[in-house]
């Protein structure tokens, strides 16, 4: 059990946190520049990140796993040799805290099933949160433009208190899009809101390499929790990351903490502690202008 937990933390480190349980062969993947201007007066409150939508026939996975990475199925690890002794491992994991502008969840859209699931991890544990499947009343317009190789048509719709303009292409016949924007008869390649605060801008697109799948298989099924319970765990983690990881892994002794900033650099020691305190402070201002203004 501990081993699985510890292995899970490897994923946390790479920035692909929890994983969907049901990867499927990928058909195409789209990278977006996600920009969220939280406060126009304060330019440093900018969330700017490359997020990737990996589309399969029945589902699409949206998260921060790098575009260049080709996910292939993990070969089934051989079962332990029979008659083997239980191994006791030494060594300890680390607590890695991401800065607020780093997406550490994956959203899995299943349009045909009308399902939307978020996979997120706190410390070493993976969690599954069932989200409400968005029903967006899209209106298609007569405007078209070319994005990449694709002719896209404009549509407008409202979601989470924001009025979005979306550009979709029916040449990619999947009813998915970045984040929770979906429901058009084609992939949404670009979307932005009326207030010019949220942007999903097309960056690049690629078809699947041999054997490429939409997401990594999970080592162990994530634990189903409610959003409130998860938020409580996240708060506790930010308050004492080392302590939580230590508790989760069951190791004794000091678990050291690393802080990953928005440029991907890791900080340790005093610097990490300082950055964590700053994160907790600045997160409050981020919450003032969230992505979803209303549920």
């Amino acid at each position: 059990m501990l081993k699985q937990f510890l292995t899970l933390s490897g994923f946390f480190i790479c920035g692909i946190n929890a994983k969907s349980q049901t990867p499927e062969p990928m058909v195409v993947k789209v990278a977006y520049s996600f920009i969220h201007i939280i406060d126009k007066q304060q330019p440093d409150t900018l969330h700017n990140e490359e997020l990737v939508l990996r589309i399969g026939k029945n589902s699409a996975v949206y998260g921060s796993y790098p575009f260049s990475a080709v996910i292939q199925p993990r070969e089934e690890a051989p079962p332990p040799p029979s008659g083997g002794v239980t191994r006791v491992y030494t060594g300890r994991p680390m607590a890695v805290v991401n800065d607020w502008g780093i997406t550490n969840w994956q959203l899995v859209q299943k349009p045909a099933e009308k399902q939307l699931t978020r996979y997120e991890s706190v410390g070493l544990s993976g969690y599954e949160i069932t989200e409400k499947f968005p029903v967006i009343k899209w209106t298609t317009n007569t405007l078209t433009k070319k994005i990449g190789e694709y002719t896209c048509q404009q549509a407008t719709g409202t979601y989470g208190g924001r009025n979005y303009t979306a550009w979709f292409t029916s040449d990619l016949p999947f009813s998915v899009g970045p984040w929770k924007l979906n429901g058009l008869p084609g992939v949404i390649l670009e979307a932005y809101d009326e207030k010019q605060e949220v942007f999903f801008l097309f960056k690049k697109i690629a078809t699947a390499e041999t054997g490429e799948i939409t997401c990594n298989e999970s080592f162990k099924p994530p634990v189903k929790v409610s959003n409130d319970a998860l938020n409580k765990a996240k708060r506790a983690f930010d308050e004492n990351p080392s302590g939580i990881v230590q508790a989760q892994s069951g190791v004794s002794g000091d678990v050291s903490m690393r802080f990953k900033d928005r440029r991907g650099k890791f900080h340790s020691g005093e610097a990490a502690t300082k950055l964590l305190a700053e994160k907790i402070k600045s997160e409050k201002s981020v919450l003032k202008n969230p992505l979803e203004l209303s549920k």
Partner: protein, 884 residues
């Protein structure tokens, strides 16, 4: 009123019907099956989408549009990734449009944006060294310690997320022959570009894409594969009282040649044997074990960290060289040379309890030990697409000399124990590439080893037993064991999705020899052999053929079942002509084992296991002639080979609630061993005489264990505990009495970890153990012992990376007769990196309380002992580490 509403609703409804047009239909494939999730588009003449919908589970769709729409030029188009796109023009007065789609191989045009992919099979994690490195870091180990998930233990063992790595590779090659501990401390951070953690590392080319291993490989990717530059690291330190430590490393790493060499010396208690030991061994090689027969004293090592009592003066040379040609043929040689001078000083009081009597011993020993060791190996490897071949030849030479003076309750004398070691071995391993899915492996190992020993005692001890009551001057006990072992196996492994099967045929042939002679120097200066027996010249032959079939089924996160049925045929023959002894054993064994694990849910599992095992003892339990294994123990055997058969069964249950951060586990296990011979001990005031007797006897043991941890939200700290309780019943045969004995032992430990103000960390660990044993006879001896070991660690990070660590440890133990020991140890450490000079300064102060002697209590049903060891007192050491 109700009627009016109904009419109104009807009106509105009709009105809607008038204003809307509903196109509908079903979408099916050529076999008539409904296609769900297809996009249905209503397009105008310009190809723009006016309205859209998608098909449900039954393949049905509807598109609602305003009736005002002009029908001219409209199209209904159905798109699905698995099918060819189909269109139908909208006709006047037709609302139903059914579609039958043809399957398409690839309906998506190749997208233009491409880039060289980084394939992430089995989750390779790459750490960019530049991201983690800090100015003050010198070695790659310093940087690796900062990388999340990587943990490096004191002895150099690397773990990734709690699991030990299989091996460390430099530029893809295993340079260190598994002794990688020295590599990470010698390689400069500037030489390495990235560190790759390969979760399922498969270094063998023929097995790639075939055998997913469970191994984690750690690869250091070179920054410049063509560099012929030699880089160096050094460390020098000095301290009080009279302490020194130094090491120099020279490293060169490129595509063709890789070499890491180091020279080290210290007298500060640092043990280099971890650099000589192989940290990872390839495969499950069975190597013959030869244990020494003779020893200088009877006390073991104290239960303290090794650097506290290891009083040394050691030197080490470590040379590793690897050459690879373009055809993937690799040559490697590894040589280690080690010398040491150790001082051991202790005294020891032991009481042995028989059913009627208590016998006491006293032993004081002052010893100087001078061992040396030289290990060398040559490895040739061809790692090709068609086959994998590895041959390793190794030679180990060593010797040890122990000069000691001993004081016992009845004599004061000096003794010398000398020993030599010689081992030569060859390991051959081949894996051919097979066209089928299975994997075949063949290994053949030959080992030869010799260990002669000689114990000279400068006094005539045990005159009654050894020299018919006549006084004599000195004695020499000589003993020699040697072995030649041939060991080959062929295995075939087939791994399916859920089902794994392995078949293995193993053959073993072993020749061993044990020689011993006891010679006494009489008062007149003549030497004669011990008269009562003829010493030992034992020949031992063992042949074994075993076949095993192992099966396992795994359904991830549901269950795991594994069954192993090994069938073994063993033939053992041993003879000692001087005692007219010639014995033959033929044994046929089936030793099955079974394990089952069931996941109750994602956070709970239950597991159970059972195994049955047979074994035969080694030649050490059959020699007939007397051997003086130490100055007060005579050993001889008077029994057949010890045969052991036993059952082991256990159940465990694990429970966790991650959100509450609660983890609990518990288990119960039972072991029952039956042996056909019993160790009989004949005790007199001076000597303990061991004889194996043919009395069958059983040993049963129950063990109950539990543990858990919980994160305490209000304290922001983790608390964990472990407990263990066991009962063992067995029989001891002392002075011709068979005494049943019962042991109880309980053990509990608690630990608490807490961080204060983010700069101070605190860790407390406490362990309490209680053992109780009783001889199950009238007025039988009873013993109990309690031990409490508590440790508090704290570290503070002060300004500019100055680290201050304090450790306090208390050991308290007490036995039932009131003997008690209580110790306090305290260590501090100060570390400061001087960035400007690229140096690390390190100031260590250990054993601040300056405790020079340590007492250790040991209690068993038949004995109690108190040992006093000389240990290292207060030490102050300043070290400087630098690049050159």
């Amino acid at each position: 009123m109700r009627g009016i509403i109904q009419v109104l609703i009807l009106l509105v409804y009709c009105n809607n019907l008038h204003a809307q047009l509903i196109f509908s239909g079903t979408v099916k494939d050529e076999k008539g099956a409904a296609i769900k999730g297809a996009n249905v588009l209503l397009k105008d003449a310009k190809g723009l989408i006016i309205q859209f919908s998608n098909t449900g589970n039954n393949g049905y769709y509807d598109i609602i549009v305003s009736k005002a729409l002009t029908i001219d030029g409209l199209l209904i188009e159905v798109k699905h990734i698995s099918y060819e796109t189909m269109q139908q023009p909208v006709e006047k007065n037709r609302l139903l449009y059914d579609f039958v789609l043809k399957e398409a191989v690839q309906s998506l045009n190749e997208v233009t944006v491409r880039q060289r992919p980084i394939v992430n099979k089995g989750d390779t994690i790459r750490y960019n060294v530049a991201f983690f490195a800090k100015e003050e870091d010198r070695t790659i180990e310093d940087v690796m310690k900062r990388m999340p998930g990587i943990d490096i233990a004191e002895d150099g063992t690397i773990s990734f997320n709690g699991k030990k790595i299989g091996n460390l590779y430099t530029g893809g090659d295993d340079l260190m022959d598994g002794r990688y501990g020295a590599a990470t401390k010698a390689i400069k951070k500037e030489m390495i570009e990235t560190i790759e953690i390969i979760q399922q590392h498969q270094p063998v080319k023929v097995l790639r894409n075939k055998k997913p291993t469970d191994n984690i490989g750690l690869n250091l990717v070179l920054k410049d594969e063509n560099s012929w530059k030699v880089s160096g690291l050094g460390m020098a330190g000095a301290g009080l009282p009279g302490l020194y430590t130094a090491n120099l490393n020279a490293v060169m790493l490129n595509k063709k040649v890789k070499t890491i060499n180091s020279v080290k010396a210290n007298n500060t208690g640092e043990d280099y044997r971890s650099e000589i030991a192989r940290l990872s061994l390839p495969g499950d090689n069975e190597q013959p074990v030869l244990s020494d027969i003779l020893s200088s004293g009877t006390a073991g090592d104290p239960d303290l960290p090794r650097r506290n009592y290891y009083i040394n003066n050691s030197g080490l040379v470590n040379i590793n060289y690897l050459f690879k040609n373009k055809k993937d043929i690799q040559f490697r040689t590894n040589v280690q040379g080690f010398t040491d001078k150790q001082r051991v000083n202790y005294y020891n009081q032991t009481q042995l309890f028989t059913a009627t009597d208590t016998i006491g011993y006293f032993e004081q020993l002052t010893m100087t030990r001078r061992p040396w060791q030289l290990n060398g190996s040559i490895n040739l490897q061809a790692n090709k697409e068609k086959y994998y071949l590895n041959n390793r030849t190794s030679l180990e030479l060593g010797a040890s000399g122990e000069n000691s003076s001993l004081t016992t309750q009845s004599a004061v004398f000096s003794q010398q124990l000398t020993g030599r070691q010689f081992a030569l071995g060859n390991e051959f391993h081949v894996i051919p590439a097979l066209k089928t899915k299975g994997i075949m492996e063949l290994t053949w190992n030959i080992h030869h080893a010799r260990r002669p020993q000689s114990l000279f005692i400068n006094d005539g001890l045990h005159v009654d037993l050894l020299n018919e009551g006549m006084h004599y001057q000195a004695m020499i006990q000589e003993a020699m064991v040697k072995v030649l072992q041939n060991n080959a196996h062929v295995s075939y492994l087939l791994i399916g999705q859920k089902f794994r099967q392995q078949y293995k045929l193993a053959l073993l042939q072993e020749n061993k020899q044990l020689e011993s002679a006891l010679t006494l120097a009489q008062n007149n200066g003549s030497w004669n052999k011990y008269r009562d027996d003829a010493g030992n010249n034992l020949y031992w032959n063992r042949y074994r053929a075993s076949m095993s079939a192992d099966y396992s089924w795994v359904k991830a996160n549901r269950y795991e079942v594994s069954i192993s049925i090994p069938v073994t045929l063993q033939h053992i023959r041993y003879r000692q002509e001087e005692y007219a002894l010639s014995e033959k054993y033929n044994r046929f064994w089936v030793n099955p084992s079974l394990a089952y694990k069931k996941w109750i849910n994602a956070e709970e599992y239950f597991s159970a296991s059972y195994g049955y095992k047979n074994s035969l003892s080694d030649m050490h339990s059959v020699y007939r002639g007397v051997v003086l294994t130490n100055y007060r123990s005579l050993q001889a055997n008077d029994a057949p080979l010890q045969e052991k058969s036993g059952h082991i069964a256990g159940i465990t249950y694990s429970f966790q609630r991650t959100l509450q951060m609660l983890f609990l586990n518990g288990g119960l296990s039972f072991t029952s061993d039956r042996v056909n011979t019993l160790l009989s001990t004949r005790i007199t005031n001076d000597i303990k005489r061991n004889v194996l007797l043919a009395i069958p006897n059983t040993r049963n043991s129950w063990q109950l264990q539990g543990g858990g941890s919980k994160y305490l939200y209000f304290l922001k700290a983790t608390m964990s505990f472990k407990t263990n309780y066991s009962i063992t019943r067995m029989q001891q045969y002392i002075n011709e009495e068979l005494i049943p004995v019962k042991f109880h032992s309980a053990n509990g430990s608690v630990s608490l970890d807490k961080k204060l103000f983010n700069k101070v960390s605190l860790n407390y660990a406490g362990n309490y153990s209680y053992s109780f044993m009783k001889q199950q006879v009238k007025d039988g001896n009873k013993n109990n012992m309690q031990r409490l070991d508590q440790q508090l660690n704290s570290s503070f990070t002060l300004f500019k990376g100055l680290l201050f660590q304090v450790q306090v440890r208390n050991i308290y133990s007490r036995s039932n007769d009131g003997m008690a020991v209580n110790y306090w140890f305290a260590d501090t450490r100060l570390r400061y990196p001087v960035k400007k000079w690229k140096m690390d300064l390190d100031l260590d102060c250990t054993n601040i309380a300056n405790i020079n002697r340590y007492e250790l209590l040991r209690v068993d049903a038949s004995f109690a002992s108190m040992s006093h060891y000389d240990i290292r007192g207060r030490m102050l050491l300043l070290r400087v580490a630098f690049n050159f």
